[in-house]
């Protein structure tokens, strides 16, 4: 058996590393300045997909909200008469609901950007921690980001369906059928939302949790 002097062998790294660096130096500089780490890239892609999905959902809810039987009347009245008539009118409810949706949508997206920025920073900061703490905090950051975005998704769903329900009831739909439709939308929406996040967000968290358990057992 050949006895190996590991320290002496390990020192051969200096030449190998130096040669390697000379080879990759130029390409590397352009790369690290213009790239994000793979985990951030992955979640950034999901972020844009979700933002687009939320926008489409918002437009659908908005469309359903303003699609009122009385919506055309707004164009038949003079502005002053229309303003007076709106109060206590189904059209008033529609307009208020639409404004509320816009305000909600605006804050939703502002906070969504903030949450992603927080997530991005927290993941970068964990890398400089010791291995066990970094792993633990990475898992918590991913979990927190997922929970926050789920909560926002649910809020959009609840607010949207409630607004639509109120408009429908104002327009003469029975309270019972409104409750049924709203409840059905919540159940369906919740299942889709949780399914989506479990499928696309959770696997990486689960992998890290497995790694954490492995490291603890080693």
């Amino acid at each position: 058996m050949l006895e190996l002097n590991l320290n002496e062998i390990w020192n051969a790294n200096d030449i190998a590393a130096s040669t390697h660096y000379k080879k990759v130096k130029t390409a590397l500089q352009g790369k690290y300045k213009s790239s994000s780490s793979k985990i951030i890239q992955r979640y950034r892609n999901l972020f844009w997909i979700e933002l687009l999905g939320n926008f489409i959902l918002f437009l659908i809810i908005l469309y359903l909200t303003i699609r009122s039987d009385g919506i055309e009347k707004i164009f038949e009245e003079t502005l002053f008469k229309g303003l007076i008539d709106w109060v206590g009118n189904s059209l008033f409810t529609v307009v208020v609901a639409t404004i509320l949706l816009f305000v909600y949508g605006f804050y939703h997206w502002v906070f969504y950007f903030k949450y992603f920025k927080d997530f991005n920073q927290s993941i970068s900061a964990t890398r400089g921690l010791d291995v066990y703490s970094a792993l633990d905090l990475s898992i918590k950051s991913i979990q927190k980001f997922r929970e926050r975005t789920i909560r926002f998704g649910l809020l959009l769903l609840i607010v949207g369906t409630l607004v639509r329900g109120i408009v429908d009831t104002t327009n003469g739909q029975s309270i019972l059928s409104t409750i049924f439709i709203v409840f059905f939308s919540w159940v369906l929406g919740y299942a889709v939302l949780i399914g989506y996040y479990d499928y696309l967000h959770k696997p990486y968290q689960v992998d890290l949790e497995i790694l954490q358990r492995q490291l603890e057992q080693e």
Partner: protein, 151 residues
């Protein structure tokens, strides 16, 4: 004098190289780049509370660990090993092959010990107690020895 990031990368390049090769014998280039990207992105969070080399080791090990989780398709199995070569460069290849076969914690412990870090520094990088460093390092060395014997 404040060093630029390029200077730091050049000065501590060997850490990136060693960790990357320890985590992927053949496809180490991707991990190497990922560590460089992560260092660039995390550099603002370095507060000087530890030595720069220690911090870079932490970033490198954390990135390599999470890279392995994220990219299971990368082949981490090592090819057939032969020890016919006599020069240190060829022997280093064999050593990396052996290190690649260790569990993640053992791998990190061996790298850090070969780098000359003492128990306290290793404990600081990995986040385990000094006693545990001693115990696990003993097991890691035994495992490495058994792997090298096979050569």
């Amino acid at each position: 004098m404040t060093l630029s990031f390029e200077d730091i990368l050049e000065q501590y390049n060997d850490i990136l190289y060693k960790v990357a090769r320890s985590y992927a014998y053949e496809d180490y280039e991707d991990i190497y780049q990922e560590i460089a990207i992560q260092l660039w992105n995390s550099y603002d969070s370095f507060r000087g509370e530890s030595k720069l080399g220690t911090w870079i080791y932490r970033v490198a090990l954390n990135t390599a660990l999470s890279y392995k989780v994220k990219n299971p398709k990368v082949d981490y199995r090592t090819p057939e090993i032969s020890l016919d070569q006599q020069d240190n460069s060829a022997k280093l290849d064999q050593l990396y092959k052996a290190i690649n076969q260790l569990k993640a914690t053992y791998r990190s412990l061996i790298i850090l010990q070969l780098e000359g870090y003492d128990y306290e520094e290793i404990s600081e990088i990995l986040g385990i107690s000094k006693t545990l460093v001693g115990v696990k390092l003993g097991r890691a060395k035994a495992k490495l020895k058994s792997l090298i014997k096979q050569y």
